[in-house]
């Protein structure tokens, strides 16, 4: 029975990340159309025109993936077949696995059992996430190498150099967060954010580590090679960079990896800085507003509210990344590496130093 529960939770986490990834494709197309003052994809219909209106969402969610999966899988001449298959696998597999440690709710009390709403309850959650994000670099490098094309190789190497440069800044920002919460376990961090500061404000991470939030957000966007950091796959310049020679479902796996990484950065920011599934002043038995007013709620409703809160915050930060992508121009490659090594890395180090000193000097500054 326990095995079944674990299996169901892993399946739920996997389905969640798949759904979010595919929905983000549609949100990106329609959202970018909105930002650029045009309509976007809306020329889809069923059976050649039954419905009197067009369904843009059908276009992106069903027609596009179906088209991509049924295209021919071309492997360029001289390319290593195994590596050509392995690269998209290594690009997407770690990203799917990352979602297994993100808590999407508190507990679900059903049938006398209290089920922790987190697929994998690791006490080293943050390290697990960082390790898997680092493995995503393999997909980029192998994709460039296995294509037997010099431009793809250069695109892959530049992409991987960019990714590893920003991983250090990301790791350092997370060190400051771990310092504040004193644990690497993601569910415990989210639970600790339910406490109230001065009895009124929920102790979300953003109040303790605003600089780490900014660093993590910027480094996360650079890590996922999204604009304004998308020179490795600059759509208007290099065709497709490291995945030029991929077609069919392998190409769609690389593109899905892009959107899943958006979701991962959003999930990390939500979990560590904005309370994850926490609704302000909502505890397991109902609302407890400051000032004494309290509202008792059944536990299933509380769980539902918390899961909805997590999904809402997740989409909010995904939308923020889409907004940033379609608003800012692309950075030049040397400006990009400059930002990673000479600006973010020293700032992150200084942030850790200040946080450590503050945490020791002010006893009530940290969250437990």
């Amino acid at each position: 029975m326990d095995l079944l529960i674990i299996f169901t939770k892993c399946l739920v986490a996997l389905l969640l990340v798949l759904q979010v990834g595919i929905l983000l494709l549609w949100v990106e197309r329609k959202g970018s159309a909105l930002i650029q003052d045009r309509v976007g994809a809306n020329r889809a219909n069923l059976f050649g025109g039954i419905l009197p209106f067009n369904l843009g969402i059908v276009n992106t969610l069903m027609a596009d993936p179906l088209k991509l999966f049924t295209k021919e899988d071309i492997v360029p001449e001289g390319a290593d077949h195994f590596l050509h298959w392995l690269a998209p696998f290594l690009a997407l597999f770690p990203l799917f696995l990352t979602f297994a440690v993100i808590p999407f709710g508190d507990v679900l009390e059903v049938g006398g059992r209290t089920i922790n709403l987190q697929a994998v309850d690791l006490n080293v959650g943050i390290l697990f996430v960082l390790a898997l994000v680092s493995m995503g670099v393999y997909g980029v490098v192998l994709g460039g190498w296995a294509s037997n094309s010099r431009y793809a190789l250069l695109g892959g190497i530049r992409g991987s150099a960019q990714m590893i440069s920003y991983e250090i800044a990301m790791g350092l920002a997370l060190v400051a967060v771990v310092l504040t919460f004193g644990t690497l376990d993601l569910q415990q961090i989210v639970r600790a954010q339910g406490q109230l500061m001065w009895g009124v404000i929920p102790a979300w991470g953003v109040f303790y580590q605003p600089l780490a939030l900014v660093i993590l957000f910027i480094a996360g966007m650079a890590e996922s090679k999204r604009a304004p950091f998308d020179l490795p796959e600059a759509e208007s310049e290099l065709i497709a960079g490291f995945f030029t020679e991929y077609s069919g479902s392998k190409q769609s796996v690389f593109m899905l990896a892009d959107f899943v990484e958006v979701a991962i950065v959003a999930a990390l920011v939500t979990t560590l800085f904005f309370g994850g599934w926490q609704v302000p002043w909502l505890q397991r038995d109902g609302f407890h507003f400051p000032g004494g007013l309290s509202l008792a709620l059944p536990s299933l409703l509380v769980t539902l509210l918390q899961v909805l809160s997590f999904l809402l915050k997740l989409f909010l930060f995904c939308w923020l990344q889409i907004l940033i992508r379609w608003s800012l121009p692309r950075l030049r490659y040397d400006q990009l590496m400059n930002l990673g090594w000479k600006r973010l890395l020293p700032i992150a180090l200084v942030n850790v130093a200040i946080s450590a000193v503050l945490a020791l000097a002010l006893q009530g500054w940290t969250v437990r």
Partner: protein, 119 residues
């Protein structure tokens, strides 16, 4: 805690299965009609010359990777310290500050000498 690693295994198996199906989908569902022109690598109309496996690329990427290794190991060492930070107090902070200072001097040297330029 033991069954949390079993959950990692189950999760990894599920994810690997789904991704493998996605990657192999067009090999199964798509047509297979290899063609000399289709298999040629992209070079905007010209024929590509030269092998990738012996193609040289700039050494500054290697330098970036080495610097990444050094600073990433530093970050990894900071994680256990950050977890038991409260118990170590000011003495632990001073020790970690000494460690980071040595590596920060290294970063300053690398910066000054120009290894972070241009890439």
């Amino acid at each position: 805690m033991e069954d949390s690693y079993l959950a990692v295994l189950i999760s990894a198996g599920l994810c690997a299965l789904v991704v493998a199906i996605m990657v192999g989908a067009s090999w199964v569902l798509g047509r297979r009609s290899p063609n000399r022109a289709k298999a040629a690598v992209f070079e905007a109309g010209n024929r590509a010359v030269g092998e990738v496996k012996t193609h040289r690329f700039p050494v500054k990427f290697y330098l970036t990777a080495i610097l990444f290794i050094v600073f990433d190991v530093e970050v990894v060492f900071m994680y256990p310290w950050a977890v038991v930070f409260r118990r170590l107090g000011w003495f632990g902070l001073a020790e970690m500050a000494a460690f980071v200072l040595v590596l920060a001097v290294g970063l300053a040297y690398v910066w000054k000498v120009g290894a972070l330029e241009w890439d």
